[in-house]
Amino acid sequence: MSTNLPKSFTALEPLAEAWGLPTQDARQAKRRGSSTAELQEFYDAIVPLLPQLLSHVDEFPLGELPPDSLRLYYMSLALAEIAPHIELYRGDPNVPHSFEEERFIAVNGQQSG
């Protein structure tokens, strides 16, 4: 799989294969299978670039991102998945004191985007 990202975001390429995942289910599974250190590493790497990233994806119409930008966009959606775990749950890869996540079915969890 290519891990190319748009020019201004090449610093994130080492994380692209792990976090550039197309579906909500895949991003959720990745988060649950990661350590606190891995979540923190991804968070620390991408958050400083986030304002720039959101401007970049808005150079394209909704849902019409070229492959490199789409990969980057999937990484931003993975950040949406893990951000509460860094910002609210002290790095816990699971939602603390929660119902069993694997029993919670996301109806559209396998759709890309």
């Binding site: 958050v47 304002p51 808005d58 949406a80 939602v95 004191h97 119902f99 919670f104 996301a106 985007g113």
Partner: protein, 401 residues
């Protein structure tokens, strides 16, 4: 009634009483059977949004396990939505092959064809074609073998069904002032949805109760919503069997970096203060600045919440005394940009996590109640919606007997 009263809702609704509530109704097989017969089989139940079956010939099949049936709701070429039991008049196969709790389909010709032997029905339920019809006997009449109709009516784009042979009230009268209170909201404009479901090993009322108060937010949502919502309710109103209130923000919460960016790029989270342009004039009558969302319950099993740019539902479908299908559906305006789409994803995932926190207690509560060690639950004043629910259920069942 004053804001300072600690018992303001009991003072407003003295008929509900203040005593403890017996928990037997959550674990009794007999009580459950009576709830099914006297409430679920005779009440109007929300089963589909009109947008889900927008085109003529579009249909949705929804399982109604408590009644051992499934309803097909289908839009005809005349635009009318009708409901039928999903059972063929031939030998009782399902007409539409279901793929789960909810099954969607579309027929350009607005017909339903049973896969078993190819019997064809119109969107009005009429049996219109039987292969090898001449081999049936003279006693067989097509016009006597339509699909079995289920009473189906629409309010504010919500399709409701009623399994009673003759419902006591039409949907409009059943919803009454609740319908007026919640009806004038642009539900159909907010179509970007996130849907989750799970089966919970608990009675449906335990699931209902867990979502029907804000007392739990400081403990249960210490993770996802720290210092976000007030534990007290605002503007509680009871409308016959239905109920509503407002949940308010605790304005002291400061968003973290990613959450702050998400709030800037899209309106998708209840955590941020929204406007009131979409809200009906009936909502937030106190004009509170810290209003977050309206939390309402349409009896018996629909939670409907509205906020600026966001509406969402919970439904609790009884499967047995100790099993419940929970469905959570969250709707926001369709994003126009990729960054807005990202912001909505962030909002929804945080909401999903909050629902994971909400559902955490339910099975434990049921298991503990089933021990029989405690016979009653104790409710405080801000748990008035729960008190009302038990009051209404008890009244319904007594009225029937």
């Amino acid at each position: 009634m004053t804001e300072s009263s600690q018992h303001r809702w009991a003072e407003k609704y003295p008929e509900l009483g203040q005593g403890p509530i017996a928990v037997e109704s959550c674990i009794s097989e007999d009580y459950y059977q009576r709830e099914v017969e006297q409430i679920f089989k005779t009440s109007w139940l929300y089963v589909a949004r009109e947008e889900e079956i927008a085109e003529p010939g579009s249909y949705k099949v929804k399982r109604l396990a408590f009644a051992d049936t499934s309803v097909i709701v289908m839009r005809g070429k005349d635009g009318v939505v009708r409901g039928f039991h999903n059972i063929c008049s031939h030998r009782g196969n399902t007409v539409v092959t279901e793929t789960g709790e909810e099954t969607f389909g579309h027929s350009k010709a607005a017909i339903l064809s049973c896969r078993f032997h190819g019997w064809v029905y119109g969107a009005d339920g009429a049996l219109i074609q039987v292969p090898e019809e001449e081999r049936f006997y003279s006693c067989f009449k097509k016009k006597e073998n339509s699909l079995e109709a289920i009473h189906t009516e629409v309010w504010a784009g919500f399709v409701f069904i009623n399994l009673a042979a003759e419902p006591e009230q039409n949907l409009h009268n059943f919803l009454g002032d609740y319908g007026t209170h919640m009806g004038d909201y642009p539900y159909s404009d907010l179509t970007h949805s996130y849907k989750y479901h799970t089966t919970l090993d608990c009675n449906w009322k335990i699931a209902h109760d867990s979502f029907a108060e804000a007392y739990h937010v400081t403990t249960i949502h210490a993770g996802s919503f720290p210092n976000v919502f007030s534990t007290g309710l605002s503007d509680v109103q009871l409308f016959g069997p239905h109920r509503t209130c407002a949940v308010c923000l605790n304005m002291s919460a400061e968003p973290k970096p990613v959450a702050a960016l998400a709030q800037k790029h899209g309106r998708g989270s209840l955590v941020a203060k929204g406007g009131s342009a979409m809200l009906p004039p009936t909502i937030n009558p106190s004009g509170r600045e810290d209003f977050a969302f309206e939390l309402s319950v349409a009896f018996p099993n629909l939670f409907l919440h509205i906020s600026e740019g966001i509406w969402f539902t919970h439904q609790f479908w009884p499967l047995s005394t100790g099993r419940t299908l929970w469905e959570g559906k969250y709707y926001v305006r369709a994003p126009r940009t990729n960054s807005e789409r990202w912001a909505l994803e962030h909002a929804q995932l945080l909401q999903r996590n909050a629902w994971l926190e909400d559902t955490q207690t339910m099975e434990n509560t049921h298991r503990a109640i089933a021990s029989g060690a405690k016979k009653f639950m104790n409710l405080q004043d801000e748990e008035i919606l729960i008190r009302h629910a038990y009051h209404v259920i008890e009244k319904r069942m007594t009225a029937v007997e």
